[in-house]
Amino acid sequence: MPLAVQFTQVSRTFGEVKAVDQVSIDIMDGEFFSMLGPSGSGKTTCLRLIAGFEQPDNGSIRIHGVEAAGVPPYQRDVNTVFQDYALFPHMNVRDNIAYGLKVKGVAKAERHARADEALAMVALAGYGARKPAQLSGGQRQRVALARALVNRPRVLLLDEPLGALDLKLREQMQGELKKLQRQLGITFIFVTHDQTEALSMSDRVAVFNRGRIEQVDTPRNLYMQPATTFVAEFVGTSNVVRGELAEQLNGSPAPFSIRPEHIRLGEQAADSHEVQVSGLLHDVQYQGSATRFELQLDSGQLLTVSQANDRWQAHAQTWQAGQRVQARWPREAMTALLETVLDEGR
């Protein structure tokens, strides 16, 4: 599969801050690729490096095999959906969408036809004459998407485009974006700090931390086999066990992760392929589809345990704080991790 975007040892420093630090990524053509990380982790800078708003200090960026260094944004075959949408307030929706075609010299009749087509694609047919200020946040987001897609870019960059929408609308747009990407076959590079969003939409996800990439993998592997302590704790909820207890339970002093929903509470004796611990229930939170327990082991280690409130385990609801319980999990549910070193020198 050909590469859409390739980073080789790319660094970008702002003053003292290494925003992007020796990052190498290969993004495949036609892939839905997410860059996930907390704010300030370098994911947006990577996006801006691809768009051409930033230039790397070191390393090389290739877009469809062509070295991007020194190529200004307006000569790159990529388009961006901005976090604040960046719609032109003095133009109506149609002119906003047709802007890219206009500056490339496409005739008025054709660019209006294509703008209307793009509007229909994002389910906003008939909104062409409105000004951006007359649209809701969700509608503006769709216009921004149409404005980028009407140029038929080979790579579409999305900078936290759903961040400003409310939950229901965000979930709906996640589905629509994914569908659109499959339909058009364009490479989508999606920046987000929302791990649920990244997991549910992407073919592959790169997890960023302090300007570096911790892991690049499919959503399933990222969740089931996190490589580092940072990934285990940032993607979903995880219990990271370290030191003596790790050696005792997993046979190795390396930290390991165990997901809350992979732990079972109950008196039933453990099989040979299971690990069993006991402790005191600290806190019980009823969350509807599941109940979350805070369990303090005899070693002092805190474990978060999540039990589904399905019809098959009605007893899960009867445990109360202050109660002593047994917990067990399969050995293969433990994933050994590399400790993410907090490099204080930076």
């Binding site: 768009a51 000569q75 032109f88 003095h90 890219g100 490339k104």
Partner: protein
Amino acid sequence: MKARLANPGPLRRFANLLYRRPNLYLTLLLIPPLTWFGAIYLGSLLNLLWQGFYTFDDFTMAVTPDLTLGNFAALFNPSNFDIILRTLGMAVAVSLASAVLAFPIAYYMARYTSGKTKAFFYIAVMMPMWASYIVKTYAWTLLLAKGGVAQWFVQLLHLDGLLQALLTVPGIGGSTLSTSHLGRFMVFVYIWLPFMILPIQASLERLPPSLLQASADLGARPGQTFWQVTLPLSIPGIAAGSIFTFSLTLGDFIVPQLVGPPGYFIGSMVYAQQGAIGNMPMAAAFTLVPIVLIALYLSLVKRLGAFDAL
């Protein structure tokens, strides 16, 4: 503590009253400025304009309160209308030139400076306003005089032929730079330039950088981004600045007296009518001219959509 709450002092009682009656609070706040603006400012202006309807007797030099439209009709006498056209032409030229000169400075201030550099530019732009306006105008008469710095510099560049040619053009020229329309225009542009720079700078500062990036991202070259995005969105600032330069030029009465060829401007005409001649009604009629012109200008600018992006 409890006792104080149970039996509050007069100040606290007053504060509580204002808290319960927000409209009373607002009224108290607005009475002083509204009195000033309404009664003293607007009242005296309307009173002045009203005097434009009074009659001035050319023989007795006395003003009588006999109402007439004669003063306003007299504005359209060829000699008076010339004054209006001359002033209007200068105001338009000064506003255009100020906008062209101010834009790059404002753009640089808004997009490329921050912290100390920005403070430096603010001070540099405003510093000329700290000096007396009359002193600056007199200084310009010396700069532009025959044998002055301006002439010396033009000679240094071997452009005196060009300057002489310019000075023979009617409507621009004059016998020397300091008695030419061109010289008067230069002084006006110099004096009003800060009033154009600051509003444009403010409008460019409000322009989100992401809009310019979006434009580039969609394939617009820097020039296209300027004409399609930057300039249209800074029009409100240019309009605000031009309202200053336009109205200040329309009302000025000192620069036309000190620099440039003989001949009245609206401001100096008002000054002459009211001071030397004592024809208050005609002065009042002339006062109406800039008000009407600025009202027309504002409606024109509004129709062009300059305030749509506000």
